[in-house]
């Protein structure tokens, strides 16, 4: 039986983590993640979960310890944001290269400099090439549900990869939302017992993790890693199906909102998608066929499916809450790669919005949709990449 609660995103995710009863958890504070792991520490202190904590001295050690713990053989979690994720960067590649299913919520926050504690996607976007599976979440419910599903995806015997569950800093992590919790027993049953795979603690079969591999085999190992990523999509969908059976909530590779017959569309991640949907509705009311695509699985990226979903549109704007300075926004690059394979492609523009927690307002979405409407009728693009919500 589901339970309706009013909680912050951080608390919701902390509960999802608790319900999966991990064996080891590394904890290190960073805003806006901090109170997620604080909450988790209180679960441990009050005997609500049997996880053994490691109160590390940095995020580099946090990920290193997670790798050690996961290789040892058991369920492992940590959580971070921003600078913390950046400090882990070296180790993120090792977690995935070693095929260790560590689950890590990332409470998205801007990167320094200048120092800023508010939400944008620069942190996780900067980690997109680390070999981690990335699942993005619009709200607390999404983040909670995605976290639960992440265990099944990462720990799947065909996958064995680490997973980041991304949610927006403050906007989601710190706002209280009404949402549904699943029962502990339901989640326990859904996630299942951790299945060991090449555990170091198996003394009878001593293994070596982390060899030196040079030109003779490195390329082959990376090819094998790529292959695993190609299997993730189906596992994500299968897990989502099971999750729907249990919760009644439906998840896919991405969410299509009024996209079927849309002429113009926004592609937008996480919390800003919620704001945008209301504006889409108002455009629909005006008779303009607007729609929205909210990516969920960002790594691996579902190129074919996204192209299929957008193929009948005339103009699309990819909204990026992160920049690749000197390049287009990271999401734009993915969407244009996806659309390039189509014979007839929509016009495509890129807006950078909301950096460092700058508010994303309905008026921004209106502006962009109006521009798309013009592009759709004129076929003319004024500028491909542009910052919005910025003072001149």
């Amino acid at each position: 039986m589901a339970k309706i609660v009013a909680v912050t995103g951080n608390e919701a995710v902390a509960n999802a983590l608790r319900q999966a009863s991990p064996d080891v958890c590394a904890i290190y504070p960073i805003t806006p993640q901090t109170d997620m792991m604080q909450k988790y520490a209180s679960f441990i202190a009050n005997g609500k979960v049997s996880t053994e904590p490691i109160l590390v001295e940095s995020e580099h050690s946090s990920m290193s310890a997670c790798i050690g713990a996961s290789a040892a053989g058991g369920r492992v979690i940590t959580a971070t944001s921003s600078q913390g994720l950046a400090l882990m960067w070296e180790m993120l590649h090792i977690a995935s290269g070693d095929r260790l299913p560590i689950i890590m919520p990332v409470v998205n926050r801007a990167l320094s400099a200048p120092l800023n504690i508010h939400g944008d996607h620069s942190d996780a976007m900067g980690a997109r090439d680390t070999g981690w599976i990335q699942i993005w979440s619009e709200n607390a419910q999404d983040a909670y549900d995605n976290t639960i599903q992440a265990f099944r995806i990462g720990e799947h015997m065909d996958i064995r990869l680490p997973v980041m569950v991304c949610l927006d800093g403050f906007i989601i992590s710190h706002s209280i939302e009404r949402m549904e919790y699943l029962e502990d027993a339901e989640v326990k049953n859904f996630v299942g017992e951790f299945k060991n795979f090449l555990p170091l603690l198996d003394l009878d079969k001593p293994k070596s993790y982390g060899p030196l591999i040079l030109t003779d085999y490195y390329h082959e190992y990376k090819r094998a890693q790529h292959e695993v990523m190609t299997k993730v999509k189906n596992v994500v969908l299968d897990v989502a199906k099971d999750f729907e059976k249990m919760s009644g909530r439906k998840y896919g590779l991405f969410e299509s909102y009024r996209l079927d017959d849309a002429d113009i569309a926004l592609v937008i991640l996480n919390s800003a998608a919620g704001t945008s949907k209301d504006v889409i509705d108002s455009f629909r009311n005006k008779g303009i066929k607007a729609g929205l695509l909210k990516p969920r699985l960002f790594r691996p990226f579902p190129y074919e499916e996204v192209a299929e979903a957008l193929k009948n549109t005339k103009a699309v704007c990819v909204m990026d809450r992160a920049d690749s300075f000197g390049g287009y926004g990271p999401m734009f690059m993915e969407i244009s790669s996806a659309l390039y394979q189509l014979k007839e492609k929509p016009a495509l523009i890129n807006k950078i919005y909301g950096l460092g927690g700058r508010d994303y307002m309905p008026s921004h979405a209106e502006l962009v949709l109006n521009e798309l409407n013009e592009i759709a009728s004129s076929g003319k693009i004024r500028i491909v990449k542009e910052y919005i919500g910025v003072r001149e």
């Binding site: 090449l198 079969k205 001593p206 993790y209 060899p211 082959e220 094998a224 292959e227």
Partner: protein
């Protein structure tokens, strides 16, 4: 040896067989070869404990022959060998001579 393709590699590049380095012979690195003069040996086993390449065979606590498959010819054993009455039990000779 035929090299494996990517489909045949262990996941995560984990080496599944502990101690598999024994399949890698390092004896060819040797420029000098240690020779054991049994008659000068007092069985102190210092050569064994100091050998960085585990290249001195010992059985039931008794020193045996060098393991030339792995001995890299560093000469530590020869230098540290006390021998009998000042007579060294290990001599280094040039390899191939």
């Amino acid at each position: 040896m035929k090299q494996k393709g990517w489909k045949d590699l262990p996941p995560g590049s984990v080496v599944l067989e502990g101690g598999s380095a024994v399949n890698f012979k390092t004896g060819s690195w040797r420029a000098y070869r240690p020779i054991w003069n049994k008659e000068n040996c007092i069985q102190c086993l210092l050569c064994w404990i100091y050998c960085p390449d585990m290249a001195i065979k010992v059985k039931d606590g008794k020193r045996g022959e060098f393991d030339y498959d792995y001995c890299k010819g560093c000469g530590i054993c020869a230098l540290e060998c006390p021998g009998k009455k000042g007579k060294n039990a290990i001599e280094m000779i040039e390899e191939g001579k």
